[in-house]
């Protein structure tokens, strides 16, 4: 069994477009990339089995059936993608709520390590370089590891600073 050109091209295009969107900073774009990727993967799975009739005993003879295993896997994958979509959208929404957009920013912790590397510092003051007792809680004031260097995320605080985005369409569900 070999696949036909149309499906091969479709899989290729879905993966290509999915990959391009996946590497975007915008979370909702990346999510669309995930969905395109998912469609591509599902087609890939489908192509792993042979085509044929509906895999229901009594309707199609066993030897003419399409391969049921990839179908079951795809079914699982589709529904999982739904859960993932919902979750990522909730993340995008939350991100918008907190910082006004849904761009994935660089991880502050990682950036801090990069800065430390540029300054030729160690990962943090550890017990091997610290002398004397620390604050009573062990990691208290003297341990910069515990101090968040980033300012707290800005809450969206009304039209005075930045007008809330007009709701797309109507504010109601319709």
């Amino acid at each position: 069994m070999t696949p036909d050109v149309v499906l091969v091209v479709v899989v290729g295009v879905l993966f290509a477009t999915g990959a391009i969107l996946l590497m975007e900073r915008s979370l909702s774009r990346a999510l669309l990339g995930v969905i395109l990727f998912g469609n591509g993967v599902n087609l890939l799975l489908l192509l792993a089995g042979h085509p044929g009739g509906v895999p229901i005993v009594g309707i199609t003879p066993a030897e003419e059936m399409a391969d049921p295993l990839p179908e079951a896997m795809i079914l699982t994958a589709i529904v999982i993608t739904l859960g993932l979509t919902a979750f990522l959208l909730a993340l995008a929404y939350r991100s918008w709520q907190l910082i006004g957009h849904d761009e994935v920013r660089d991880d502050p912790e990682d950036r801090r390590i990069v800065r430390r590397a540029e300054r030729d510092q160690v990962s943090g003051p550890d017990d091997s370089t610290t002398e004397g007792p620390l604050a009573p809680d062990g990691f208290g004031g003297l341990d910069p590891e515990q101090v968040d260097p980033e300012p707290p995320p800005r809450r969206f605080d009304g039209p005075a600073t930045e007008p809330p985005q007009p709701p797309g369409g109507t504010a109601g569900p319709r």
Binding site: P3, D4, V5, V6, L7, V9, V10, G12, L14, F15, A16, G18, L22, M23, E24, R25, N39, N42, L44, L47, G49, H50, P51, G52, V54, P55, A62, A66, P68, L69, A72, I74, L75, T76, V79, T81, L82, G83, A86, Y93, W96, D106, V114, R116, V122, S123, D126, D127, S128, G138, D157, G158, Q165, P167, G168, G169, T170, A171, P173, R174
Partner: protein, 945 residues
Amino acid sequence: MLVLLALQFGAASVAPVLVRCWGRRACYPLALAPAAALGWAVGHTARVTDGGAVVETYPWVPGLGLDLALRVTTLSWLMVVLVGGIGALVLVYCAGYFDADEPGLGRFVAIFVCFVGAMLGVVVADNLLLLYVFWELTSVCSYLLIGQHPEQAASRRAATQALIVTTLGGLAMLVGFILVGEHAGTYRWSEIEARPPSGGAYLVVAVLLIVAGVVTKSALFPASFWLPAAMAAPTPVSAYLHAAAMVKAGIYLVALLAPVYADVGPWRPLLFVAGAGTMLLGGWAALRQVDLKLLLAYGTISQLGMLTVLVAAGDPDAALAGTTLLLAHALFKATLFLVVGIVDQRAGTRDLTVLSGLWRRMPLVGAVALLAAASMAGVPPLLGFVAKEAVFEAFVGDPPLLAALVAGSALTAGYTARFVWGAFADRPGAEPTPTRPVEPVLLLPAAALAVAGLALGPFAGGVGEALRTYPGVFGATDHHLALWHGPGLALGLSATALAGGLLLFVLFRPVRPALARLRAPFDGDTAYQYVARVLDRLAVEVTGATQRGSLPQYLGIILLVLVVGPGGVLLFGDVRPHVAAHWENPLQAVVGVVLVVAAVLAVRARRRLTAVILVGLTGYGTGLLFLLHGAPEVALTQFLVETVTIVIFVLVLRRLPTHFSRRRLRRIRWGRIGLGLAVGTVMAGLVLVARASRQAAPVSENFPQLARDFGYGRNVVNVILVDIRAWDTLGEISVLVVAGTGVASLIFQFRRRPSRARRPDLPAPGPERVWLRAGSTLHIRRRSIVLEVVVRLIFHTIVIFSIFLLWSGHNGPGGGFTGGLVAGLALALRYLAGGRHELDQAAPVDASVVLGTGLLFAIGTGLLALPLGGQVLQSARVDVHLPLVGDVHLVTSVFFDIGVYLVVVGLALDILRSLGAEVDHQIEVEEAPGGGLRTSGEQTPGVRG
């Protein structure tokens, strides 16, 4: 023996409870566990001293050659006696040492008893891998005990250092063990000892690695630095782990392996140099200390060095001397540490420049210390003297080593005198240190050990007799242990050592400045610090270079690997692609073109909604392709999911900006497009190649048969989901539950709203007819009466259809997923037509309840197969005859599918509640006049509907 080990660990697990009930007195019953080990050893004395061995074997992991092989011979018997006996005494001492309200005492005692078990395991294990396991367990216990006071930086640092150093050596040792075991074909030491495999380069490497383990564990130079730092631990720990037991593990291992490996190239030179060097440097350092505990710690290092030389020699006389010194050292060093603990506790300091006149205030303690110290210095008639005599006797034929040993003994005598004088003597011009009285419970364990050292001296012959089978392994000897050998070289050397030590002590003060400058040229601690810092810097540099914090960059790297790896194989590998036809079906080509165009446009789209619709189009297209490929069930699910997805998107997009944010860098954008195209090409190539390279028959070939005979269903796909691969499905619905909960927790910022009650104030169905009861809650401009009518008419039909799909799924198209999605869409319709209150009307339950019920249902059905005599999730068929209906065949997996259905409905409900209703609510709060609180609805409970 296994029972003994289990007893220790069992006692350790109940220790926290006992301590909570009885406080520090719990140490007494817990001391019974190590005491039982001592009792066991005493009971087996006759059998072991006659040259026999107590052997027990239980299979554990046969595939790794790892079994619970336990074996006790003379050497390990001696260790069991020490570990059990001293362990019990130190535990008794703990009851007096700690305050009644000592924080973390339960944890401490538990780990301590656990350590006893681990140490017993090390000495009774016959399997080298098992020995390694226990060996590392002792390291871990030591780490936890040193770090008993984690709030102190010194304690943390010492614990980490000890752990890193000992486990590093332990890992090297493990590699050595594996080399040995793989070449010998067995990991049982008794078998390797009986038939040593021929040597070779591997053996040299293995010996080097094992010696690395010994050097770190027994704190030999240059890895000795962790032991003084470990004195941050409470004194009972120092007495037991870092003097009597754990640090002896290395000595024990050398003694165990010496009969076979003493003649292997690097063994003797390495261990002699390390041992002798450690002995001299440690003794020298001990002379300089002002802290009694540190003095003893360096003394221990020195003694460990001497012991290493003795047991590594591979000579019967040295072996006898070594085992005797091992015993004597355990007795006197544990005693001295316990005494230091008493002094520290009762006088409030252990600084020997401060202490004064203690012998008058605590004469009994002083006597005990004197007894133990005399044994340490090698004064007759104590066991230490007997051991020293044997040592000198054994090395008469090796003058350089003999000289080193005598020098080491002289240093020992010197720092012993310093210890006794410093701890107890009157200091001229100093006030006597005030002390508190010493309870018997503190003194008795120390006294017992000291008296044992005294009593065993005159009975040295008996000790030698009991231990004789171990030296016998190395060959016959006519040397015997005895208190009095008569005047000879050994006695002369003993006297020399003692005199030298006293001289050192007396001369110490004048030459102190010179001494202080004379230090080891190479400091292990500095090296450790340096290495730790370099590693840290390296980690920071590597992390900083590879982990820049940019998600697109990471994804790009992953995709790049995909392109380079499989893509490279495609280009250069021996693979041949196959294409059968242009299309199977002309319709396929049409769908394909639409799909490709939609996907490309989706990438270019700048409006969110446009992109979402285009992506949805590709989803529907994919569904059509499924249909044409012979997968109608999948196609149906795909259509439903696509619809639900679009609904969710619209719900969220109404809040997000209409356009995507502008892309910034053109260069990066082109790189992204290039990489994306490469990924697409590689994947297309993979499709071509993968299909052509199938060689085995598909595993699913007989699934139709299986589905009918064992799954009792005709829809093969559904039977795969609920029976053949039901574990997958169970995992999947668990993921769905997690995703649903995650969505809710992201949107409801503090907690879910309380259970959804139907609103009582909505217009009741009555003379004034309404289509949807909550329709009036919507703003007039947002209502659509047509939609309300349609929803009112078809909602129940859809729900019934979804249940039909669920039930018929086992034999026809449908199933839990499809049914659940249909029901979810029905709920979405109600919400879209009537708003969030209508949703509460339609489903007056909490989404989490539906999710949880579904999951429980699925799991419960899976477990139901157990009482019916099957495996978990196995389908069973129940035939019931119902009046009027006739014969009904119930398959248990249908109930599993009900669980799936409920989870999917719950997920849909959760999404509608969170991204729909709660977002509505937040919008309402924002738009409410004077509602300045933009942050969250939860902060304005009064506005909540």
